[in-house]
Subunit: 344 residues, 4 copies
């Protein structure tokens, strides 16, 4: 089969012919991939940044966001059968470590990531554990179903808080930030404020329902939000940028007693005024990684299937997989929301 | 001033001239009432049912749902001033009993209810403690602001659960049930199912956003909901009718591990199959009374001010207070949502 | 091997020679049983009551509470190896139904119970899924490790509440009730009150740390608890008897805003004064079944290993398995706490 | 009356004769102080550090931790009467700001602190709002009842987490840290580990129930705790020192999915490796300030009255108030737990 493969420890990737993956354990399922999408992580691997160089062992089929149909199941698989329509939880967890046994699978120490630690889904077929396949509602088309992995990040970050009737700020409007805007709106936020330095992304945030957007290059976000909230601050801040200044800001724009999700990954340590910005103000901070298995997916399926969560506008590009290099260039230039590949 | 007064221990009420209420304690505020609405409790007092006969001591100015403007404040009042636009929390709590000191004011043992235990708001003026006045957003008009007391019941009952992405059933579509439909939709429910025996009320529930409605006189609600939820049951049931059959049903239509609010008041003890319907299914039941002071009001103000919660269609009748008897007749016949009185 | 087997659809059981169980699926483990204990369910099956007659299909090896050592593992087992010291979660769940995927395994619709639906542990060996084996701390001896299944019921029922600094009442002092007394004490309860009609069991409850005990045949429990709590009621009630009068009482002895676990199984529907006892008092009721997989087990292991939870006195009888009939007679007469069998 | 007064903007304090405080508002109570204790804040004011110089306006009667008896009540006071035995919540909150109306009084923006912003309790009498007086159990003697303000800090920091069966680490064993050791033990912690650089304080921590103590000057705390927890880390860390190194450590010693309270106040910004230490590990951080009004006090009263929480050994010195300077010297030298003054 054809697959987009990281063939060597260098920038780039090749679409080459490789053997079809086979089921080697009784709890695995083989899936025909219908649609995939590009995550920032894929682009980092494509670029071959220092993180990728330390983690990925070529050759490796890339990609971890997908929707597809089961074509074969292992002997012990009970919940899935050929023809089932599924997406993949990219974090393949062990199920038996102390964290998994506490149902905190999202911090399983033995997590292996599809397309990073094991062969991924930028291919005609992929093999994953039954445990990592999530049955989709048939009404959700593949180009939407494939983006549930990053959408789930946004759902996890948002659902860590009580949202109905709350003022929410989203800092950083990359795809996951924009998703968070939509999720907060779907979950009953009173107002959703969004910040980014890119006018393109702020425009996307407004399309997805941001009540008001702010460019920190052009205005003082803290002052603006203080005015809009009667000097209080927002109830909930969702930090999606990883920028140190935004992380610091996420605490200061939040009202006393409010709560913050930190999901964006800063490049290094961040200096924080804990006394003034967190302790004296009684703020709670949630470190957010991955998705809750499978509470996050339940919520996401319900919000998508009900039509309440419409993330269609985030999908700015749909390309055939043969144009994977063009997709990576779009990621490089930042002029895109989600780039989805049709795998047919 | 003119006021609608329960003048004697008998059915009916009179609109008569009474002295204006005066501030007698330093923490009180005097309010000019702009709009009021009829609660089922008011109608019971009007009818003079056995509960009323045991609780209300005539003469008593009736009414507890209102919006108005502060016209005078006691010497120790700090948070309000003449001109402020407020509504009233009808449950006047003591603030110092063990429950109040745990911030569970809604079950304060010393609660006195406006228009029941103390003179109410079907009058030009009312005097209430500062603690019982809630500042409204100026954008919420009086005919909406006055119904926040019963709307708050619905917010309290609904917000006891995790709603975003959940399937919710509301049993009983009196005004509070219909409000609950709207609140669940505003808070991100995946689907909201509603039941009632009155086609008029089911029509109102659909107007307020019910995904589907069911008349238990015409169909088997349990079977219908099981089909719609893949045999699972809903995530959350909100029992608003008080009918024993609906209370029993509220448990059986809820999925294992789900949760139920009981708010409707049954006339007597109810027989429940606890083993099969509650224990083996790991269900949680919340007894709901009043409103959380003031978490419920915060959420409600935010949902109303953002436009996300539109309960305008529930207000089926707006009458001058002089037509209070017509209002009570509408309540008697059940062909109404909320009946609001203009007090000017 | 020798096993205690329900050989026919009639009262009694036989200790007979049967084939050793074998691993038939790659995720199973074979365990040499070291100690087992009798649950009320075992006694019901022994008696052959109507529930048993409808559920159990003889021949069936009885027993579901055990501690033992792994002697063999299936080809896909990764977290256990021969020699590991384990106990069993008797509720074997599917792991893939909607409830399991929400981590609410305790209400899995596909649960099969060891010794009820599949062959049990009153035998030299048992085979269970890896998922159903829980690694014990080596410091917990087998006669204590084997009773974790019912102890876990008590932990689950108790940990549904905030216990530290709370007044707790346990209604019904069978083994699980007595365990709940000990768990509540270990978890920081301010006072633990216990009720039962058996002086023998009340004595056991006092040994396990009950602050005060009450026999409803001899005194008015509601009056006594009201006096002890300044008229307030307890913060938390744990209903372990299943008696309708105790279930009704569990609500009335709980303070407004407090919470109740219902775990005892009533024989039929129970009439409850929902308005006065639950709704107006804002009480929350948790239906409790099984154990949280595996949060309950984590908590239990930690409490046992730290020495904080000493349930040794509940084990009133330790017998060789050859005296299983004597054990059943002790259960019949109610003059026992837990009866443990040595399997060697 | 005699009172310890900060008489001028300079180090030191004087015990001088001042007029008795009088009730000036109808919601105030006058209290005869029986016992007080020294907080670090009092010592800072005594020293006249930069924070004090910016906040305190001499002359100011010092002190905010006390127990005493009500001797007079204002005209609107309903819950207290002369003779009642009370302690004081030192954070006098407004009760009407958005945070107070959400029952998050501990972050009230209008908080005034006794002995800092208003005259305090190092005197024969003090006047406080009814709202700030907490009725003590008569069985708790004054020298224990007076330390509930700092003990409440520890209760608040600890009760932000699920403690029963958890491994807890306390970083920093000043009085509040030592209290936290005792509170965690009372609340059912599996093990409580404590760290400090002072052998004197570690000895106190062991007296109060620390399972094991660590001096970071002598050993690698992270390595030691990793070994003790099977490489996992503790479930809960309570940071009480304010030292940047300990704050960083509090995250790294906590298991993935665990939670941290930050209460110690760092002198400046702290650099944190958010990606590795918080985000990827899914940790939750609670900023802790003050006490929950009055949930914290309820829990504390119950734990003290039940005898479960014995903090007597933390009170290393009991002096007559005339020796206040000696008390301050003890604070300076760090060779003390709590220093309590007898006010008679």
């Amino acid at each position: 089969m054809l697959a987009v493969v990281k063939t060597s420890s260098a920038p780039g990737a090749d679409r080459i012919d490789v053997p079809e993956p086979v089921i080697t354990r009784p709890d695995q399922v083989k899936i025909q991939v219908l649609a995939t999408s590009i995550c920032g992580t894929d682009y980092h691997i494509y670029q071959w940044d220092s993180w990728s160089a330390g983690r990925v062992k070529p050759p490796r089929i890339m990609g971890h966001e997908f929707a597809g149909r089961v074509v074969e199941v292992g002997s012990e698989v009970q919940s899935l059968k050929p023809g089932d329509y599924v997406s993949g939880e990219s974090h393949q967890v062990c199920g038996r470590c102390p964290e998994c046994l506490r149902n905190q699978y999202h911090v399983c120490a033995n997590t292996r990531i599809l397309g990073v630690d094991v062969d991924g889904c930028f291919a005609k077929y992929a093999v994953v554990p039954e445990r990592s396949a999530w049955r989709n509602d048939e009404n959700i088309p593949p180009h939407l179903a494939c983006i549930q992995d990053p959408l789930g990040n946004a759902v996890h970050a948002t659902m860590a808080h009580s949202i109905a009737g709350s003022d929410v700020a989203v800092l950083g409007c990359g795809p996951i930030g924009i998703f968070a805007v939509a999720v907060a709106q779907a979950a009953g936020a009173s107002r959703v404020f969004a910040t980014d330095t890119s006018p393109y992304r702020l425009e996307l945030a407004r399309k997805l329902g941001a009540t008001e957007t702010f460019n920190p290059l052009e205005q003082n976000v803290e002052t603006a939000l203080a005015q809009l909230t009667g000097g209080q601050g927002v109830d909930v801040a969702l930090e999606m940028s990883g920028a140190p200044s935004a992380i610091q800001q996420s605490l200061r724009i939040t009202r006393p007693g409010g709560s913050v999700s930190l999901m964006g990954i800063p490049a290094g340590p961040v200096s924080i005024n804990l006394a003034e910005d967190l302790i004296f103000r009684g703020i709670t901070v949630h470190g957010i990684v991955g998705r809750r298995l499978y509470e996050t997916w339940h919520t996401m399926r319900a919000l998508l299937a009900s039509g309440r969560l419409n993330v269609e506008p985030v999908i700015t590009h749909q390309l055939p997989i043969s144009e994977y290099q063009h997709g990576m260039e779009l990621m490089r230039d930042g002029l895109c929301g989600k780039v989805v590949f049709d795998m047919n």
